[in-house]
């Protein structure tokens, strides 16, 4: 009976290996497609491009901001907050 089960088309070792191979194939294909897609959307290519990307991201983060002048009271408040935070950390 054991040998019989081995030759059953649905439960045979060959069909199991076939399923495994198919699953591996699907995963590999998905990985390859993902690589293609991410490569297409990336604005720059290569390691040198990644350094540029970092710098560009900083530039974008700094654009469109407002620097507001502090009043004397605000400056004092800012300094007090800094010092309080520092002494709290030290203690």
């Amino acid at each position: 009976m054991k040998e019989t089960a081995m030759t059953d088309n649905k439960n045979s070792r060959r069909s199991f290996l076939g399923k495994v191979a198919a699953a591996v194939g699907v995963i590999a294909a998905a990985g390859y497609v993902k690589t293609l897609i991410s490569g297409a959307t990336s604005p720059t290519v290569g390691v040198a491009g990644k350094y540029t990307d970092d710098a560009v991201q900083q530039e974008e983060a700094l654009l469109g901001n407002r620097l507001v002048i502090m009043t004397d009271a605000e400056k004092t408040q800012r300094l007090d907050e800094l010092l309080r935070c520092h002494y709290k950390e030290i203690s």
């Binding site: 019989t4 350094y51 530039e59 700094l62 002048i69 009043t71 004397d72 400056k75």
Partner: protein, 355 residues
């Protein structure tokens, strides 16, 4: 099927025996192959370990966080690094671990009305701090060129505002003074990668941006392994050997002041600064973060940061925020100082002002 059922038991036994023998041969040969492979790889490891570089690499891999090391472990770690850097760059390299001074809270101030956008601070910083050059260049300072029309405030009305009061209480909403005008400047239309033949451009002013050394640094909170931390002098530092390169700190920083080494840094031996600090300007490796440290290798020894010394117009001030007589405290007391990204609540210790 019927044939298989009718198989002679003796033949079946032979089949089992041959399969068993086959498996035995496979196991034996695999074991032999493994032994040979392990012997050869062990020999290779021993051969590699004979070189100083491999010894250092293995030892560095297993070393802990520098702050938590014993004095003896720190000495060994520094000796390893000095040996490796000296061999790698062909010059005697020192790695300091001088601690932050007590009773100090470092702060920085930059006069935007003086800055001429010459970028000497950027280049001085790169040279002092052994930053990567060429295609993989890393710069810790980014200079923004901002149109002068972006600044707008009335100095006379600056102190005339007051919090609105109502029968429900004081809500702190300012009325009067500059409340109805944009009091400050915007970075709208600014550019960082200007290629002017001559500076300054009379229609622009310049704003160098670097790590703001926040008193409540979000990068420190984001680091999952505590590789980045704030020392008791208020400077945010990184243990490069403990950093896992996850880049969470880069995402957390509102100023995007951190840089990641995507590849092996390109640092020519002749341009390498051999006087380094463990948390500062020692050469970094691929896959770690880096950023401005207020030149920890200098400031912990009582010197000024390289960017300040390089500034030809004296736009930069550095000092101890705990000392009322320091340059930074005097700037805070007497100059028009800006709030920059205050909404993040990070308490930066880098102040922009106009003189």
């Amino acid at each position: 099927m019927s044939e298989e059922n009718n198989t002679n038991p003796e033949e079946s036994a032979d089949l089992d025996n041959s399969r068993r023998d086959f498996l035995r041969y496979v196991c034996t040969s695999s074991a032999a192959a493994l032994v040979v492979a392990s012997e050869s790889s062990a020999a290779a490891v021993v051969e590699e370990a004979n070189s100083a570089d491999a010894e250092v690499t293995v030892a560095e891999f297993f070393q802990g966080h520098f702050v938590l090391m014993s004095d003896e472990e720190k000495k060994q770690a520094i000796a390893r690094l000095e040996k490796r850097y000296s061999a790698q760059y062909g010059k005697k390299t020192t790695v300091s671990d001088v601690a932050a001074p007590d009773g100090v809270l470092f702060g920085y101030a930059l006069d935007m009305s003086k800055c001429i956008g010459c970028r000497r601070c950027v280049h001085a910083c790169a040279e002092e701090n052994n930053q990567s050059r060429g295609e993989s260049a890393i710069q810790w300072i980014q200079v923004m060129k901002i149109p002068k029309g972006n600044i707008s405030f009335s100095a006379e009305e600056l102190e005339k505002g007051y919090p609105e009061k109502s029968r429900f209480g004081d809500y702190g909403v300012q009325v009067g003074g500059n409340a109805y005008h944009p009091a400050g400047l915007t970075t709208e239309g600014a550019q960082s990668y200007y290629q002017d033949e001559a500076v300054p451009d009379k229609d622009f002013f310049y704003m160098p941006v670097q790590c703001q050394q926040c008193e409540k640094p979000p990068c420190v909170k984001a680091c999952p392994v505590r590789a980045t931390f704030r020392d008791h002098a208020g400077v945010v530092l990184i243990d490069y050997n403990w950093c896992i390169g996850c880049r969470m700190c880069q995402l957390a920083c509102p100023y995007h002041a951190r840089r990641f080494n995507w590849g092996e840094p390109n640092l020519p031996a002749e341009e390498m600064n051999p006087k380094t600090h463990y948390f500062g300007n020692r050469p970094r490796m691929k896959g770690v973060m880096e950023k401005c440290t207020f030149c920890v290798q200098r400031t912990r020894e009582g010197r000024n940061p390289a960017c300040l010394e390089a500034c030809p117009v004296g736009a930069r001030k550095f000092g101890n925020l705990l000392d009322p007589e320091s340059d930074v405290r005097k700037v805070l007391a007497t100059k028009r100082v800006f709030r920059f990204k205050e909404e993040f609540g990070t308490y930066p210790k880098f102040f922009y002002y106009i003189g």
